[in-house]
C-alpha cells in the first residue's frame, strides 16, 4: 500500500512541475501549483507512516516506558499548517492573475513581456 501511495505522490509532483513549465494559461499554472502542493503533502504524510499503527490520538496516558502504537505526529502537524497556507497563497496568486488580466485583457503568459529583455 505504501509504495502505491508514494508513487501517486511523486507522479502528482512531476505532473505539477510539468504543468507549471508547459502551460500558457495563467489559471492553468495556478492549478498546476495546487497539484504540486497536494503531491508534496501526500509524500510528507507517508514519511511519518508506520505499518499497522493507529492515528496519533490516545485513549489513556501511556505508562512508564510504554510506547503507544501510533504513527509519527510531527509530519501531520507540519502538513496541517501547510494546507491552510496553501489556500492563502493560492488565493493571492489568483488575485494577481485577475489583476494582470484586467490590465492586459489576456491570460496568455507569452504576452507579459514587460520584464523580458
Amino acid at each position: 500500500m505504501e509504495q502505491v501511495i508514494i508513487i501517486t505522490g511523486i507522479l502528482l509532483i512531476i505532473l505539477g512541475i510539468f504543468g507549471i513549465i508547459r502551460s500558457r494559461n495563467l489559471v492553468k499554472i495556478v492549478l498546476a501549483f495546487t497539484l504540486f502542493n497536494t503531491g508534496l503533502n501526500i509524500l510528507m504524510i507517508s514519511i511519518g507512516y508506520i505499518r499497522n499503527a493507529g492515528a496519533p490520538i490516545l485513549s489513556q496516558i501511556p505508562g512508564q516506558g510504554e510506547i503507544p502504537n501510533i504513527v509519527d505526529p510531527v509530519p501531520q502537524a507540519l502538513v496541517l499548517t501547510a494546507i491552510v497556507i496553501g489556500l492563502g497563497v493560492t488565493a493571492l496568486m489568483l488575485a494577481y492573475v485577475l489583476k494582470l488580466y484586467q490590465d492586459k485583457g489576456t491570460l496568455d503568459i507569452n504576452s507579459f513581456k514587460d520584464l523580458k529583455w
Binding site: I7, L11, N25, T38, V71, Q76, L98
Partner: protein
C-alpha cells in the same frame, strides 16, 4: 484490501491531474483539481492522519475550488 483501495485512489487522482492539466475547458480542469484534493483526503485517512484528512477535505477541495470558480466567473463576465 487497503492495497486495492490505494491503487484505485491513485489511479483516480492521476486521471484527475491529467484532466486538470490538459482539458481545454477551464471549468472541467478546476473541478478535476478538486477531485484530486478529495482523493488525497481519503489517502490521508488511509495513512492514519484524520486531522489532515479533515483539513484537506474542507479547504483543498471546498474553498479552493470555489475561489477558482469566482475568479473564472469574473474573467468570463468581461469576455462575453
Amino acid at each position: 484490501m487497503f492495497v486495492i483501495i490505494a491503487i484505485v485512489l491513485g489511479i483516480i487522482s492521476l486521471i484527475g491531474g491529467v484532466i486538470a492539466l490538459f482539458h481545454k475547458k477551464l471549468v472541467v480542469a478546476i473541478l478535476a483539481a478538486g477531485l484530486v484534493s478529495l482523493t488525497a483526503s481519503i489517502i490521508f485517512l488511509l495513512l492514519a492522519a484524520p486531522d489532515v484528512a479533515m483539513t484537506e477535505a474542507a479547504i483543498g477541495s471546498g474553498l479552493t475550488t470555489v475561489i477558482f470558480l469566482y475568479v473564472l466567473n469574473k474573467i468570463r463576465e468581461k469576455n462575453g
